[in-house]
Protein backbone atom coordinates (compact mmCIF):
# COMPACT_ATOMS: atom_id res chain seq x y z
CA UNK A 1 0.00 0.00 0.00
CA UNK A 2 1.37 3.44 -0.92
CA UNK A 3 0.80 6.27 1.61
CA UNK A 4 0.35 9.13 -0.88
CA UNK A 5 -3.43 9.11 -1.33
CA UNK A 6 -4.36 9.52 2.32
CA UNK A 7 -1.52 11.99 2.95
CA UNK A 8 -2.54 14.18 0.02
CA UNK A 9 -6.20 14.05 1.14
CA UNK A 10 -5.36 15.08 4.72
CA UNK A 11 -3.00 17.84 3.56
CA UNK A 12 -5.51 19.25 1.07
CA UNK A 13 -8.39 19.07 3.55
CA UNK A 14 -6.30 20.70 6.30
CA UNK A 15 -5.17 23.54 4.05
CA UNK A 16 -8.68 24.21 2.67
CA UNK A 17 -10.25 24.00 6.17
CA UNK A 18 -7.85 26.74 7.30
CA UNK A 19 -8.80 28.78 4.26
CA UNK A 20 -12.51 28.19 5.00
CA UNK A 21 -12.01 29.27 8.63
CA UNK A 22 -10.58 32.57 7.45
CA UNK A 23 -12.90 33.13 4.51
CA UNK A 24 -16.36 31.64 5.06
CA UNK A 25 -17.94 31.28 1.63
CA UNK A 26 -19.45 28.48 -0.45
CA UNK A 27 -16.51 28.63 -2.88
CA UNK A 28 -14.03 27.89 -0.07
CA UNK A 29 -15.88 24.67 0.83
CA UNK A 30 -13.09 22.25 1.88
CA UNK A 31 -14.77 19.12 0.43
CA UNK A 32 -15.32 20.73 -2.97
CA UNK A 33 -11.83 22.28 -3.16
CA UNK A 34 -10.06 19.11 -1.96
CA UNK A 35 -11.85 16.98 -4.58
CA UNK A 36 -11.12 19.53 -7.33
CA UNK A 37 -7.43 19.83 -6.40
CA UNK A 38 -6.81 16.09 -6.07
CA UNK A 39 -8.74 15.25 -9.26
CA UNK A 40 -6.72 17.90 -11.13
CA UNK A 41 -3.42 16.55 -9.72
CA UNK A 42 -4.30 12.99 -10.76
CA UNK A 43 -5.09 14.18 -14.29
CA UNK A 44 -1.99 16.38 -14.64
CA UNK A 45 0.42 13.73 -13.36
CA UNK A 46 -1.36 10.81 -15.04
CA UNK A 47 -1.92 8.97 -11.74
CA UNK A 48 -4.73 6.37 -11.67
CA UNK A 49 -7.71 6.63 -9.32
CA UNK A 50 -6.89 3.13 -8.00
CA UNK A 51 -3.36 4.21 -7.04
CA UNK A 52 -4.82 7.20 -5.17
CA UNK A 53 -7.51 5.06 -3.47
CA UNK A 54 -4.98 2.47 -2.29
CA UNK A 55 -4.59 4.33 1.02
CA UNK A 56 -7.30 7.03 0.65
CA UNK A 57 -9.96 4.33 1.09
CA UNK A 58 -9.00 4.23 4.78
CA UNK A 59 -10.78 7.59 5.13
CA UNK A 60 -13.87 6.62 3.12
CA UNK A 61 -14.12 3.36 5.08
CA UNK A 62 -14.74 5.48 8.19
CA UNK A 63 -18.07 6.63 6.67
CA UNK A 64 -19.48 3.28 7.85
CA UNK A 65 -18.78 3.75 11.58
CA UNK A 66 -19.54 7.50 11.24
CA UNK A 67 -23.06 6.68 9.98
CA UNK A 68 -23.45 4.28 12.94
CA UNK A 69 -22.31 7.06 15.31
CA UNK A 70 -25.12 9.30 13.99
CA UNK A 71 -27.27 7.33 16.44
CA UNK A 72 -25.72 9.53 19.15
CA UNK A 73 -27.04 12.94 18.00
CA UNK A 74 -30.35 11.22 17.21
CA UNK A 75 -30.45 9.84 20.77
CA UNK A 76 -29.62 13.26 22.23
CA UNK A 77 -32.41 14.82 20.17
CA UNK A 78 -34.95 12.12 21.08
CA UNK A 79 -37.29 14.47 22.95
CA UNK A 80 -37.43 16.81 19.95
CA UNK A 81 -37.97 13.85 17.63
CA UNK A 82 -40.75 12.43 19.80
CA UNK A 83 -42.44 15.82 19.83
CA UNK A 84 -42.19 16.26 16.04
CA UNK A 85 -42.74 12.77 14.65
CA UNK A 86 -45.51 14.08 12.35
CA UNK A 87 -43.22 16.65 10.75
CA UNK A 88 -40.43 14.10 10.44
CA UNK A 89 -42.69 11.52 8.73
CA UNK A 90 -44.06 14.15 6.34
CA UNK A 91 -40.56 15.47 5.61
CA UNK A 92 -39.17 12.01 4.79
CA UNK A 93 -42.07 10.85 2.61
CA UNK A 94 -42.58 14.17 0.82
CA UNK A 95 -38.91 15.11 0.58
CA UNK A 96 -37.75 11.60 -0.32
CA UNK A 97 -40.26 11.29 -3.17
CA UNK A 98 -39.56 14.85 -4.38
CA UNK A 99 -35.82 14.09 -4.54
CA UNK A 100 -36.29 10.91 -6.59
CA UNK A 101 -39.04 12.12 -8.95
CA UNK A 102 -37.58 15.58 -9.63
CA UNK A 103 -34.13 14.16 -10.43
CA UNK A 104 -35.58 11.45 -12.69
CA UNK A 105 -38.01 13.64 -14.63
CA UNK A 106 -35.71 16.66 -15.01
CA UNK A 107 -32.86 14.45 -16.30
CA UNK A 108 -35.33 12.76 -18.68
CA UNK A 109 -36.70 16.09 -19.94
CA UNK A 110 -33.14 17.30 -20.61
CA UNK A 111 -32.40 14.21 -22.70
CA UNK A 112 -30.49 12.01 -20.25
CA UNK A 113 -29.76 8.38 -21.17
CA UNK A 114 -31.37 5.59 -19.17
CA UNK A 115 -28.16 4.77 -17.27
CA UNK A 116 -27.93 8.43 -16.20
CA UNK A 117 -31.62 8.46 -15.08
CA UNK A 118 -31.07 5.32 -13.00
CA UNK A 119 -27.78 6.59 -11.59
CA UNK A 120 -29.17 10.00 -10.63
CA UNK A 121 -32.47 8.93 -9.02
CA UNK A 122 -30.96 7.91 -5.63
CA UNK A 123 -28.68 10.96 -5.42
CA UNK A 124 -30.14 12.45 -2.24
CA UNK A 125 -29.40 9.50 0.02
CA UNK A 126 -26.13 8.77 1.76
CA UNK A 127 -23.33 7.37 -0.45
CA UNK A 128 -23.29 3.89 1.02
CA UNK A 129 -27.06 3.43 0.47
CA UNK A 130 -27.19 5.18 -2.90
CA UNK A 131 -24.43 2.99 -4.34
CA UNK A 132 -26.21 -0.16 -3.15
CA UNK A 133 -29.53 1.04 -4.60
CA UNK A 134 -27.93 2.07 -7.91
CA UNK A 135 -26.42 -1.40 -8.25
CA UNK A 136 -29.80 -3.05 -7.61
CA UNK A 137 -31.72 -0.92 -10.14
CA UNK A 138 -29.14 -1.11 -12.94
CA UNK A 139 -27.43 2.28 -12.65
CA UNK A 140 -23.66 2.89 -12.60
CA UNK A 141 -22.66 2.73 -8.89
CA UNK A 142 -19.47 4.83 -9.27
CA UNK A 143 -21.34 7.55 -11.17
CA UNK A 144 -24.04 7.52 -8.48
CA UNK A 145 -21.32 7.99 -5.82
CA UNK A 146 -20.06 11.10 -7.61
CA UNK A 147 -23.60 12.52 -8.09
CA UNK A 148 -24.45 11.86 -4.43
CA UNK A 149 -21.35 13.75 -3.36
CA UNK A 150 -22.03 16.67 -5.70
CA UNK A 151 -25.56 16.87 -4.22
CA UNK A 152 -24.07 16.72 -0.74
CA UNK A 153 -21.55 19.45 -1.54
CA UNK A 154 -24.32 21.80 -2.69
CA UNK A 155 -26.06 21.28 0.65
CA UNK A 156 -22.81 21.48 2.63
CA UNK A 157 -21.74 24.68 0.87
CA UNK A 158 -25.08 26.44 0.31
CA UNK A 159 -27.91 24.68 2.21
CA UNK A 160 -28.19 26.84 5.33
CA UNK A 161 -27.73 30.01 3.26
CA UNK A 162 -30.52 28.98 0.85
CA UNK A 163 -32.83 28.09 3.74
CA UNK A 164 -32.05 31.51 5.22
CA UNK A 165 -32.80 33.16 1.88
CA UNK A 166 -36.30 31.59 1.83
CA UNK A 167 -36.65 32.52 5.53
CA UNK A 168 -36.85 29.05 7.05
CA UNK A 169 -35.64 29.56 10.63
CA UNK A 170 -37.29 26.58 12.32
CA UNK A 171 -34.63 24.03 13.40
CA UNK A 172 -36.88 21.00 12.73
CA UNK A 173 -37.55 22.20 9.16
CA UNK A 174 -33.89 23.11 8.58
CA UNK A 175 -32.56 19.81 9.93
CA UNK A 176 -35.06 17.73 7.94
CA UNK A 177 -34.47 19.61 4.68
CA UNK A 178 -30.69 19.31 5.02
CA UNK A 179 -30.71 15.60 5.89
CA UNK A 180 -33.31 14.58 3.28
CA UNK A 181 -31.69 16.63 0.49
CA UNK A 182 -27.98 16.41 1.20
CA UNK A 183 -27.49 13.33 3.42
CA UNK A 184 -24.24 13.18 5.47
CA UNK A 185 -22.62 16.24 3.93
CA UNK A 186 -25.70 18.31 4.76
CA UNK A 187 -25.71 16.83 8.28
CA UNK A 188 -21.97 17.50 8.69
CA UNK A 189 -22.62 21.20 8.01
CA UNK A 190 -25.84 21.79 10.00
CA UNK A 191 -24.53 19.92 13.06
CA UNK A 192 -21.79 22.54 13.41
CA UNK A 193 -24.47 25.22 13.75
CA UNK A 194 -27.06 23.47 15.90
CA UNK A 195 -26.78 20.04 17.58
CA UNK A 196 -30.54 19.43 17.67
CA UNK A 197 -30.99 20.33 13.99
CA UNK A 198 -27.94 18.14 13.30
CA UNK A 199 -29.51 15.19 15.13
CA UNK A 200 -32.75 15.63 13.18
CA UNK A 201 -30.71 15.89 9.97
CA UNK A 202 -28.86 12.66 10.81
CA UNK A 203 -32.13 10.89 11.57
CA UNK A 204 -33.69 12.27 8.36
CA UNK A 205 -30.71 11.00 6.38
CA UNK A 206 -30.97 7.53 7.90
CA UNK A 207 -34.77 7.31 7.51
CA UNK A 208 -34.64 8.67 3.96
CA UNK A 209 -31.97 6.09 3.17
CA UNK A 210 -34.20 3.30 4.47
CA UNK A 211 -37.29 4.78 2.77
CA UNK A 212 -35.55 5.29 -0.59
CA UNK A 213 -33.93 1.86 -0.65
CA UNK A 214 -37.36 0.26 -0.15
CA UNK A 215 -39.40 2.54 -2.43
CA UNK A 216 -37.09 3.32 -5.36
CA UNK A 217 -36.91 -0.14 -6.99
CA UNK A 218 -40.74 -0.35 -7.10
CA UNK A 219 -41.18 3.29 -8.11
CA UNK A 220 -38.85 2.81 -11.10
CA UNK A 221 -40.96 -0.10 -12.31
CA UNK A 222 -43.86 2.37 -12.54
CA UNK A 223 -41.79 5.13 -14.16
CA UNK A 224 -40.17 3.04 -16.89
Amino acid sequence: MNPYGITLTLLAFYAFSELHRRKRAFYTNPVLLSIALIAALLRVFGVSYDYYMDSARILSFLLGPAVVALAIPVYKGRETIRAYWREITAGIVFGGLTAILSAYYIAEALGGSEEVLLSISPKSVTTAIAVGVSEKIGGIPALTAVLVILTGIMGNALGPELLGAVRVKDRVARGLAMGVTSHGLGTARIILEDEIAGGISGLAMALNGVFTSFVLPYLLELLK
Binding site: Y49, P65, V68, A69, A103, L110, S124, G132
Partner: protein, 115 residues
Protein backbone atom coordinates in the same frame (compact mmCIF):
# COMPACT_ATOMS: atom_id res chain seq x y z
CA UNK B 1 -9.90 7.50 29.48
CA UNK B 2 -8.81 5.54 26.41
CA UNK B 3 -11.06 5.67 23.32
CA UNK B 4 -11.10 1.89 22.84
CA UNK B 5 -14.38 1.10 24.54
CA UNK B 6 -16.25 3.68 22.49
CA UNK B 7 -14.58 2.70 19.22
CA UNK B 8 -15.10 -1.02 19.86
CA UNK B 9 -18.81 -0.43 20.48
CA UNK B 10 -19.29 1.76 17.38
CA UNK B 11 -17.30 -0.54 15.08
CA UNK B 12 -19.04 -3.54 16.67
CA UNK B 13 -22.46 -2.13 15.77
CA UNK B 14 -21.19 -1.41 12.26
CA UNK B 15 -20.04 -5.03 11.91
CA UNK B 16 -23.36 -6.29 13.32
CA UNK B 17 -25.24 -4.13 10.80
CA UNK B 18 -23.14 -5.46 7.91
CA UNK B 19 -23.69 -9.05 9.08
CA UNK B 20 -27.44 -8.52 9.35
CA UNK B 21 -27.61 -6.83 5.92
CA UNK B 22 -25.77 -9.61 4.12
CA UNK B 23 -27.35 -12.49 6.10
CA UNK B 24 -30.89 -11.28 5.35
CA UNK B 25 -29.95 -9.96 1.87
CA UNK B 26 -31.54 -6.58 2.70
CA UNK B 27 -31.41 -3.58 0.35
CA UNK B 28 -30.40 -1.40 3.34
CA UNK B 29 -26.65 -0.92 3.94
CA UNK B 30 -25.06 -2.28 7.11
CA UNK B 31 -24.09 1.17 8.40
CA UNK B 32 -27.74 2.28 8.53
CA UNK B 33 -28.80 -0.95 10.24
CA UNK B 34 -25.89 -0.47 12.68
CA UNK B 35 -27.11 3.05 13.40
CA UNK B 36 -30.66 1.82 14.10
CA UNK B 37 -29.26 -0.98 16.32
CA UNK B 38 -27.05 1.45 18.29
CA UNK B 39 -30.01 3.82 18.67
CA UNK B 40 -32.07 0.93 20.03
CA UNK B 41 -29.27 0.03 22.46
CA UNK B 42 -29.00 3.64 23.69
CA UNK B 43 -32.78 3.95 24.12
CA UNK B 44 -33.04 0.64 25.98
CA UNK B 45 -30.05 1.52 28.20
CA UNK B 46 -27.94 -1.42 26.98
CA UNK B 47 -25.30 1.07 25.90
CA UNK B 48 -24.69 4.17 28.05
CA UNK B 49 -24.29 7.50 26.26
CA UNK B 50 -20.98 8.25 28.02
CA UNK B 51 -19.46 5.02 26.65
CA UNK B 52 -19.67 6.25 23.06
CA UNK B 53 -20.19 10.02 23.28
CA UNK B 54 -16.65 11.34 22.67
CA UNK B 55 -15.61 8.78 20.05
CA UNK B 56 -18.94 9.16 18.23
CA UNK B 57 -18.56 12.92 18.20
CA UNK B 58 -15.06 12.62 16.74
CA UNK B 59 -16.41 10.50 13.85
CA UNK B 60 -19.58 12.53 13.25
CA UNK B 61 -17.92 15.96 13.35
CA UNK B 62 -15.24 14.86 10.88
CA UNK B 63 -17.48 13.19 8.32
CA UNK B 64 -16.80 15.77 5.61
CA UNK B 65 -13.23 14.61 4.90
CA UNK B 66 -14.44 11.02 4.40
CA UNK B 67 -16.38 12.08 1.29
CA UNK B 68 -13.25 13.35 -0.48
CA UNK B 69 -11.86 9.99 -1.75
CA UNK B 70 -15.16 8.78 -3.33
CA UNK B 71 -15.68 12.30 -4.72
CA UNK B 72 -12.32 12.15 -6.49
CA UNK B 73 -13.87 9.18 -8.36
CA UNK B 74 -15.30 11.84 -10.65
CA UNK B 75 -12.06 11.51 -12.69
CA UNK B 76 -13.21 8.12 -13.93
CA UNK B 77 -16.49 9.53 -15.35
CA UNK B 78 -15.35 12.74 -17.01
CA UNK B 79 -16.33 11.57 -20.51
CA UNK B 80 -19.92 10.70 -19.50
CA UNK B 81 -20.23 13.86 -17.39
CA UNK B 82 -19.19 15.86 -20.46
CA UNK B 83 -21.41 14.12 -23.03
CA UNK B 84 -24.48 14.32 -20.74
CA UNK B 85 -23.56 17.52 -18.91
CA UNK B 86 -26.97 19.19 -19.39
CA UNK B 87 -29.24 16.39 -18.06
CA UNK B 88 -26.80 15.54 -15.25
CA UNK B 89 -26.05 19.00 -13.92
CA UNK B 90 -29.49 20.41 -14.78
CA UNK B 91 -31.22 17.64 -12.83
CA UNK B 92 -28.67 17.77 -10.01
CA UNK B 93 -29.03 21.51 -9.38
CA UNK B 94 -32.79 21.88 -9.98
CA UNK B 95 -33.69 18.75 -8.02
CA UNK B 96 -31.46 19.93 -5.15
CA UNK B 97 -33.19 23.33 -4.97
CA UNK B 98 -36.71 21.89 -5.32
CA UNK B 99 -36.12 19.19 -2.69
CA UNK B 100 -34.39 21.45 -0.14
CA UNK B 101 -36.92 24.26 -0.30
CA UNK B 102 -40.13 22.23 -0.60
CA UNK B 103 -39.13 19.89 2.24
CA UNK B 104 -38.35 22.83 4.51
CA UNK B 105 -41.57 24.67 3.56
CA UNK B 106 -43.79 21.59 3.98
CA UNK B 107 -42.36 20.89 7.43
CA UNK B 108 -42.62 24.54 8.43
CA UNK B 109 -46.25 24.70 7.29
CA UNK B 110 -47.14 21.63 9.37
CA UNK B 111 -45.43 23.18 12.40
CA UNK B 112 -47.29 26.47 12.00
CA UNK B 113 -50.57 24.59 11.55
CA UNK B 114 -50.01 23.01 14.95
CA UNK B 115 -49.42 26.42 16.48
Amino acid sequence: MTPYRGLAIIFGFYAAGELLSSALDLPIPGSVLGMLLLLGALLSGGVKLEWVDREGELLVKNMSVMFVPPGVGIVTYLALLKSEALPIFGALILSFLVTLITTAKVVETIRRGRG
